[in-house]
């Protein structure tokens, strides 16, 4: 399940409120989250996320456990989030909602070409190669199904 796209580079400790603000949670319309993702961080970001790979600093997804944060990123078209570390619940939510995440510190420049393979853990950023921890077989199956619910529907 290799993913490729331009890098969108973000700082450390991005909390889930910055990913999707609390004022947008009271809906089931996922496109709302995609439109307003990262709004309080930088309103110009959302349109650049489609097909992109987000490379962030440590502790990405800290704060509120809202699952909508992972869903919002996926709905906005983010192909993968790479960070040296993730907040635990966000990390679980990401896998369970079908958003690939990889733990790795890779310096990046905005717009650089990134190719990442969650199965092997290899990440290529502007020609430099980094190695993240490979995900477990089950995690990869969940991701390729598009999330935990779909994974189970398929298994029935």
């Amino acid at each position: 399940m290799k993913v490729e796209g331009p890098a969108v580079c973000l700082g450390a400790d991005i909390d889930t409120d910055l990913v999707i603000a609390g004022r947008y949670l009271r809906t089931k319309d996922r496109s709302v989250w995609a439109t307003h993702v990262f709004e309080d961080l930088d309103p110009a970001l959302a349109p650049r996320l489609s097909g992109a790979i987000v490379i962030a600093g440590k502790n990405f997804g800290c704060g509120s456990s809202r699952e909508q944060a992972a869903i919002a990123l996926r709905e906005a078209g983010v192909r993968c989030v790479i960070a040296p570390s993730f907040a635990r619940i966000f990390f679980r939510n990401a896998i369970n909602t079908g958003l690939p995440v990889m733990e790795c510190a890779c310096p990046c420049t905005e717009g650089e070409r990134v190719a990442a393979d969650p199965a092997s853990g290899t990440i290529e950023v502007g020609g430099r190669v980094y190695l993240a921890r490979p995900l477990s077989p089950r995690m990869l199956e969940i991701l390729s199904a598009g999330g935990l619910v779909e994974y189970w529907r398929r298994k029935q």
Partner: protein, 404 residues
């Protein structure tokens, strides 16, 4: 050698593992959400229905017809699927699971953040989300990231009126509310053997308040003796050399009675610094401090006297309640003017049975004092049962051991 988490999950820290779950449980709150996810998954059969527990504790008995309807649905599901089920009045899920169900070396998941309580038994016990739980129902397993560990080295023993809760709040304040995010805490050192299982459960219970995924004790003689009462013969887990990402040393003899001041559990002060703050309610109970030894300590203080503030007592389980009834502890509490609530979470989550009004102040033996948790505009001080008892008698926060 490896940490206990590495041993149980069978892989080095940092790696992702797929593993079978030995016990999985939900309560009436999260069970409803897990059932919704289960229905969305269109799964039909649980992989291990004898290992998936449904324990009613959060809003029991139901407080309104919406809750009652949701509970009825979950109760039906539990019956249809043949799940081990405990209904209204049996107690807080973590306590019930700690009464001879969770065992050393097991992987235990609960759809509740305080599942870490069961680390007291040497089980790898951690909270998961509702969707995670539905998938575990369907499959019997899940994935984990093996956590790095922080070694909490305990030496000496608790002295004077200080108790496990004071020690727990002390380590939480030293680590801070996110000091152990994603890590496991391991409680080790010479001091551990002096701690009862009730005390260990209190210590493991607060692990999540530092952001930790689990809070583990190695099963020792005390653990085995406790489990023997429930008919289990468990083996010892012997700690060996292992790599801790960080260590924390606490000489238990230095621990003094403390309170966590609202609205943060890691803002911890000696009780004497806040003594005299008038109270509207005292609450003894919860998965932190609703066990028999807690009730007994409290009852010994108030015995033969009268509480001067509304005092609510929720035994953590039916077993605790019936033991308290048998030893006289219950009648001392009633005679002292305490109100006895059914075994369960009681007012801990601010849903019923003792919600605080605007501006009201409660001293509670629970684990969380976030703003509005027990009612909008209410404030919560967290403390030990001994401090709660002294405070109930004086109507204001009071240093334990003084009234005796």
């Amino acid at each position: 050698m490896t940490t206990l988490s590495e041993r149980i999950l069978g892989a080095p820290e940092g790696s992702y593992v797929d593993c079978q779950v030995d016990r999985a449980y939900v309560h009436d709150g999260t069970g409803v959400l897990a059932l919704e996810a289960w229905n969305a998954m269109q799964a039909r059969m649980l992989a291990r229905n004898d290992r998936c527990y449904v324990l009613f504790d959060h809003i029991v008995p139901a407080n309104n017809s919406v809750t009652a309807g949701l509970q009825a649905e979950l109760r039906r599901f539990a019956r249809e699927q043949g799940l081990p089920f405990t209904d209204v009045g049996e107690g807080v899920c973590h306590q019930v699971m700690g009464e001879g169900i969770a065992l050393p070396g097991e992987v235990v998941v609960g759809a509740d953040s305080h599942t870490c309580t069961l680390g007291a038994f040497g089980a790898f016990a951690t909270g998961v989300g509702a969707t995670d739980m539905a998938a575990i129902w369907a499959d019997g397993g899940t994935w984990f990231r093996v956590p790095e560990s922080i070694g909490v080295f305990l030496s000496g023993s608790l002295a004077g009126p200080a108790e496990a809760k004071d020690l727990a709040l002390t380590y939480v304040s030293r680590l801070s509310m996110d000091g152990a995010t994603y890590k496991a805490l391991e409680f080790v050192g010479d001091g551990v053997s002096s701690l009862s299982m009730d005390s260990r459960m209190t210590l493991s219970n607060l692990a999540v308040e530092t952001g930790a995924k689990a809070g583990l004790f190695y099963a020792d003689k005390e653990t085995c003796a406790y489990l023997r009462e429930f008919g289990h013969s468990a083996g010892l887990q012997v700690p060996g050399e292992c790599r801790y990402e960080r260590t924390l040393d606490i000489d238990m003899a230095d621990v003094v009675p403390v309170v966590a001041v609202p609205p943060r559990v890691d803002t911890v002060r000696p009780v004497e610094d806040v003594a005299g703050i008038p109270l509207d309610q005292v609450f003894l109970g919860t998965c932190t401090n609703g066990r028999y030894a807690d009730l007994e300590r409290f009852a010994r203080v108030v015995r033969g006297k009268k509480v001067r503030v509304r005092t609510l007592v929720a035994p953590a389980s039916r077993r605790v309640l019936s033991r308290a009834a048998g030893t006289g502890v219950l009648s001392w509490l009633v005679a002292a003017g305490c109100t006895i609530l059914p075994p369960g979470c009681g007012p801990c989550l601010g849903a019923h049975q003792g919600v605080l009004g605007e501006g009201e102040v409660c001293l509670s033996t629970a684990n969380r004092n976030f703003r509005n948790r027990m009612g909008v505009g209410g404030e919560i001080y967290l403390a030990s049962p001994a401090t709660a008892a002294a405070s109930a008698l004086s109507g204001a926060i009071a240093v334990p051991g003084v009234q005796g």
